[in-house]
Subunit: 682 residues, 3 copies
Amino acid sequence: MKFKPLSDKIPKMLHGADYNPEQWEKYPEVLAEDIRLMKLAKCNVMSVGIFSWTKLEPEEGKFTFEWMDQLLDTFHENGIYAFLATPTGARPAWMSEKYPEVLRVGADRVRNLHGLRHNHCYTSPVYREKTEIMNTKLAERYADHPAVIGWHVSNEYGGECHCDYCQDAFRNWLKEKYQSLDALNHAWWTTFWSHTYTSWSQVESPAPQGETMVHGLNLDWKRFVTDQTLDFYRHELKPLKSVEPKLPATANFMETFEGLNYAKFADDIDFISWDSYPTWHDQGDESYRAAYTAMNHDWFRSLKDGQPFFLMESTPSLTNWQPISKLKKPGMHVLSSLQAVAHGSDSVQYFQWRKSRGSSEKFHGAVVDHVGHENTRVFKEVGELGEGLSKLDEIVGTTVDAEVAIIFDTENRWAVKDAQGPRNIGVHYERTVTEHYQAFWEQGIAVDVIDSEKDLSKYRLVIAPMLYMVRDGVGESIEKFVENGGNFVATYWSGIVNETDLCFIDGFPGPLRKTLGVWSEEIDGLYDGEVNTIKAVGNNSFGLHGEFEAKELCDLIHLEGAEALATYGDDFYAGRPALTLNHFGKGKAYYIASRNDHAFNQAFFTKLADELELKRAIDGPLPKHVSAQVRTDGKTDFLFLMNFSNQAQEIKLNGEYQDILSGNTVKDSISLEGFAVSIFKK
Amino acid sequence: MKFKPLSDKIPKMLHGADYNPEQWEKYPEVLAEDIRLMKLAKCNVMSVGIFSWTKLEPEEGKFTFEWMDQLLDTFHENGIYAFLATPTGARPAWMSEKYPEVLRVGADRVRNLHGLRHNHCYTSPVYREKTEIMNTKLAERYADHPAVIGWHVSNEYGGECHCDYCQDAFRNWLKEKYQSLDALNHAWWTTFWSHTYTSWSQVESPAPQGETMVHGLNLDWKRFVTDQTLDFYRHELKPLKSVEPKLPATANFMETFEGLNYAKFADDIDFISWDSYPTWHDQGDESYRAAYTAMNHDWFRSLKDGQPFFLMESTPSLTNWQPISKLKKPGMHVLSSLQAVAHGSDSVQYFQWRKSRGSSEKFHGAVVDHVGHENTRVFKEVGELGEGLSKLDEIVGTTVDAEVAIIFDTENRWAVKDAQGPRNIGVHYERTVTEHYQAFWEQGIAVDVIDSEKDLSKYRLVIAPMLYMVRDGVGESIEKFVENGGNFVATYWSGIVNETDLCFIDGFPGPLRKTLGVWSEEIDGLYDGEVNTIKAVGNNSFGLHGEFEAKELCDLIHLEGAEALATYGDDFYAGRPALTLNHFGKGKAYYIASRNDHAFNQAFFTKLADELELKRAIDGPLPKHVSAQVRTDGKTDFLFLMNFSNQAQEIKLNGEYQDILSGNTVKDSISLEGFAVSIFKK
Amino acid sequence: MKFKPLSDKIPKMLHGADYNPEQWEKYPEVLAEDIRLMKLAKCNVMSVGIFSWTKLEPEEGKFTFEWMDQLLDTFHENGIYAFLATPTGARPAWMSEKYPEVLRVGADRVRNLHGLRHNHCYTSPVYREKTEIMNTKLAERYADHPAVIGWHVSNEYGGECHCDYCQDAFRNWLKEKYQSLDALNHAWWTTFWSHTYTSWSQVESPAPQGETMVHGLNLDWKRFVTDQTLDFYRHELKPLKSVEPKLPATANFMETFEGLNYAKFADDIDFISWDSYPTWHDQGDESYRAAYTAMNHDWFRSLKDGQPFFLMESTPSLTNWQPISKLKKPGMHVLSSLQAVAHGSDSVQYFQWRKSRGSSEKFHGAVVDHVGHENTRVFKEVGELGEGLSKLDEIVGTTVDAEVAIIFDTENRWAVKDAQGPRNIGVHYERTVTEHYQAFWEQGIAVDVIDSEKDLSKYRLVIAPMLYMVRDGVGESIEKFVENGGNFVATYWSGIVNETDLCFIDGFPGPLRKTLGVWSEEIDGLYDGEVNTIKAVGNNSFGLHGEFEAKELCDLIHLEGAEALATYGDDFYAGRPALTLNHFGKGKAYYIASRNDHAFNQAFFTKLADELELKRAIDGPLPKHVSAQVRTDGKTDFLFLMNFSNQAQEIKLNGEYQDILSGNTVKDSISLEGFAVSIFKK
């Protein structure tokens, strides 16, 4: 299957950056020079208007669009396209001064002063009104501008407000959800510590000096924040769409961002975009970091079922806000950018085009440095990438065809991390999901990263690491998936609570107990540094061999139809099952009872992939730190080979291939330089 | 001496848990099932009504006691008894909403929102009025109920309030104590930094944005908090006692809790109870952890001069609020429960009977797990313990007869930790006291753990680790104790300040200088990892040998009549006295000038115990990690042998003994399995 | 050149302490005893009246000067002099109670409660009025008192206030500076994140719940705090000077204090004084600690161009507020006190004379301990020092003659630490400056430590470590200095921003690019533990040899006329220049591109000192941990040899010298005991 390009105006890989020429108003030579440099770097798209509210409306009701007119016209004259932003990511000081209600109130119930960004109440009638006026004017003026190819709505939505408007909205949201206080009290188990609410007005959002421990409240508050933010997005969208319904809109998302459940946005967002800032060359494991980044790409691609996403922000060099501002080593910029493409991106964009002279992000990497000219290492690598992207027109609209899905569920994430016990010093949900993902990444097996409520029927294998919360329907969905021949892998600390964090009382893993054929009686927390072992059972039907290290969490289970593939080696539960397989319907369900080392994940999932004959990007094992990914339209495959180590790596191939980027032909094997990437059409 | 059982209704070891059936109102089958399981686990007592305010008074002035009537009647029909709680540990949301004054104000002067628990102002007239109404009704309805054997007043008192009511109460408390501002100004040395108060209204409680450094103020504030909490306890008690004065009452205390001076409560509390949650199987030293827990038991037993206390809460498995939720290994539940009994408890009770389905403590260990049935490891061990406890009727009312007392003084603890210098990175008062205690625990020597104002005359040996604060009368009491033949051990950083943290100006250790025969000129702070050595003086009269490590604090003293038993080995004070002995009257006073390693404590206190021929639970040395304790009525001794290691240990005994628990007879020696316990009647 | 003694009344080295007899009002014997002890310790000056406001004005408008009259008269009768303090370092509780506006408002906009000290708004009209009344009365009564030799204005000025008065004053300060909002908006680059101010009233001081990221705002706020504090100092001074203009005044400063730009105070302060509390004998490197302390002395001496400063506070023993209260080892008190003298101090003074009985600093080292008598080790060492100081009359008024200056610039410090990137986990400005300083300290080469705006023409060598901010005129001053034959050393991360934190857009290091002959394209941040190497280029013209370790920051530069003396050894920039030399005019300019190990600093700066034939205190190398410093009047040199190790050290000397302190004559070499000091007149 092949998706349409985002805009008919430019059916190509997009390459560009955030661009704020209004910062350079006093430097009139800058705009013309920037246009020259954009062309030189083969950039064809810019995101404009982000954080431009004061420039567009310097005083209440007085609008100054002339500079934007000129900017977009200049773009159009030069073959450059634009994502046009709504400026709600930061509001003008005059608005904060005149209408304090637009400023957020913190969980401590202290209202913010004007400052930073994202600092607006999404419920405030004034802020909504001002947004509506602004967005209407933008739409009326620019929706049909030939340079504009999409809406960049606000910027990196996030955060929450606890003002009285929001408290009221939250209470209404709860009334809608629960209908009665009695239902709410039961769902939140408020009898504990005598919390029973006897009036809706008693309900308040979590607060450090108030309630922090009613997990049902915490969860519903997070859900409300997502819904209210989504409602604000819809409010932004309405005037935009009323002028030109077909102009697509996005809201740029963030890496493993936890504050919003992005899955809820998927239907309302026309195309997914996200901002990626991996800490390349940090001191951790390079494969883990590359796999973690790949997982994020796959997560965002999976949000809209494989539709290409857009890498809306990245840095061509370093960031200035991470602990260390580390330069990308030669090659890494092209490599990391094309990694996004390999996983489904139809663009590579940066924050930002030109480094600002002052304020907080002036040292953030940009295409054009303070020195202002093109004679820099970074500019050259950006140009080299631009050249490469221009050869990839064919790949636009292709997608990734995955047989495997890993469940990375935001509500579960909220719940499992908010819970008290079994490991308050770190339950490590994200790391755990990533470690499972990495086992496939290392094999060149494509993976979708999905919410637990997604349809599973299209997959052959579904993995649900630590699925603590199993919402209504999810257990049934998994059961049916396995019954119909699917393969399912669950782990310890799964099937514990329902949608409002009430424990299942019919035996853990609750709705998964039948499918998995095990009962989890209790779970042991291990201290950091404390270990157990798990040993493969002799002649187990799965064919697993060897001994592995277990740590952090060890589930003590009873077999209820499942077979033990491995058992614990130590402590009082030595000999008890540590890994099980249950034949269920036409499928199989595996249970990993303990958190294990990476060697286990590699051994187990390689075995499983072999057994299921899962499609790999290339046959045979990949060298360490090398990733292989395929984009496809169902007919033609595009193979990306990427070397994330600083050493050359030899990769075996069957047959002869032509590298789209270099034009070189390789046969039987290819030697990839450190931080190099090749793309082959198959 | 033998104490009476707490209630004539049930002259047995108590076994039970906190029980909140009101959480399961929507699950009507639960109560009957719980009664069946209670009997199965040999439980005979439940604490009910804790956190039940909203269930008892769902709206102001509307009371719903029917469910409690039914609960207590059902208990009575089934031979189960109850500690009935006053519900003040958490108040209803309607009360917080209608009367914000019941909510605490933090030290930062921000009033709490409704949430968590313990969140009430103990001065608020409204809260006192509501409490009085509720407690009166409870007393009138239940004081004579056949199932009720005692009052469980509130829950784990703690915390403080800085509202205007409390500020006024604090000022009145100060006026009462000091009579004049002039006296207060001198006691707090307010001339420093020009703090002199010229009006009572200028005095305010400590605040992060206000005063934090006037230590006399800090101390008096803590004393006020204790007194005001005690006053609130008396306020709770009054209506309870007016109906049935003989029904005993307790307020459950907490492990080494620092917020209240429990010694002040001893006279008003009819029986001591406390909540014990040791982190068994953590990565520390097992003997230290077991000794630390034992010390807590001894502290609570000593509060009321040996009267049996009640283990009001413990977990049959794990907690959910500690860093790691670690399962108790097989045996540990019986062992740790009987350790409480060995040290003077007449009960083993749990938080809680049945795991709640939701909210913050749903993963806290309980007798009945979410799965709801008895087929769990934990339930079986609880039943096994219930069986064991049922054999210990004879032990009820017996006590522990200690010749040794260690001073663990709460006001001193406040003061020595609040002081600036000599070791702001950790003066480690609690650890230091525990290390001294451990040296006796390892020898099977019974110890009382007492406040410095307690009568010392009944002891043969008194140890006062780091008695920084020596209040009026305490120096005299110690002097008299030694004069009359007592043995006294003091350490560095003792005798520094009086009751209001004013330094003694006649030479440290102040009121102890004469008794100890030394003058401390100055004290050296050592960095973590920095060490000195102390070496026994050749042919010293005490017979100490060897060389030990000193760390953290080294006192530089001059002999004033005392003999040096050991001297420093390093630094510019090498050769100066590090351990001294002073013959004073008919007794002896020892001064340990530096903080030393555990080998020193073992060598010194073993030597001292030998010299004094202190009673040991059994003759001869105990294996590492094994504890021996005796409960006695003065005629019959009950010997508890407890193995806190996971390895079997061989213990030598003289003669033949019968194990009350197993019925087995042992002769000359016993081999205790890992985490096993035996109880012998002598 | 020789400066006049501070007071004609006592042309001697001063020796004394803070003294607060008003704390001992209830102990009438203390004053007479203190006078006896002061004489015994050869103390000749006391600082009085610090924190005495409540004692001087116990209620509003009621003044009680009698005790101060008596105190000063008694001093005069006994040949003791006084620095008389204004009491504004802490205000009376009655003032806070009646006029809350005198209390500071925090950055979080919460007004402080009464407490601690320094807690006043420096803008408050009431506080200014009360200060004026008090200072006027003090001046009228005591300016001509024979015992008084100077004003000790307030105490350790510091901190900031965010109240409405201060917000208004800040806005006025900004209007004065920028004249227009347009200029301010450009200077702060407020278009970033749409921060443009459209009204002065929108500007607010930085706040945690408001603006933290506009670096120009942050910087100007710090500048305002300095200016407003200086304005308050002038306000304090006015009544004092109106009575007796010649009585000199100081405001005691603090070690590497960052809150105020002391350079701005130099003209208004008659004589510099500071409070020094090194953590002697901590676990770090002894030379680093001694050099760091020496650098502080040199910084304060350089503030007023070599005029002797006064060590206003130090401890004769330990502090009570550092992590560990460590005793000074024998000899260290004399050594560390004379180190101050070696670097230009004409006094050694303590906080405090007598330990207070209570409150927060009661355990701070003092001459007289709580025990109250002179028979202590500390008292004896103070007396020994007093004896030594009495032999140094000749040194009074002499200064230090430095050919080398190191730039330690407070505004640069603010800016480089406030910046985001390139190393948010630690850019280590102070440590970096100290490491450069230490290379000279180890060679016995005198150094001035100066602000970047100081006149450089008097120096032969100027070093500017990490001069991130180059304010207007500074680049020109350095260029001219080198052009005229000066030698200049700069490092990585220099010449990045101008006075308002706007980046230079003509290529880094901006205004230093021409002088240094290099262009810095980008800079790599290294993680802690990550290293590179730098290797001397064969046959480089400077004669540097060997290989060194680089870490933390590596600048990637291009030569623009400069010669590479060393190159990087690793990573993708191996072979690129790491150390350069540019011949410019008659001078030379060096650029150190990476942060290197101490071995590099030693090798490079020894080489440079040799090449320039810089004056050393003694010929030949000094043993490790030994410092040699010279004070001079231009004719006679006084050589201080100081051994900061605990081992005896042998130092070679040319010829015969007499030790002023011991009277001993040494020839050719001297053996200095551990922690010993000798002073020779040459």
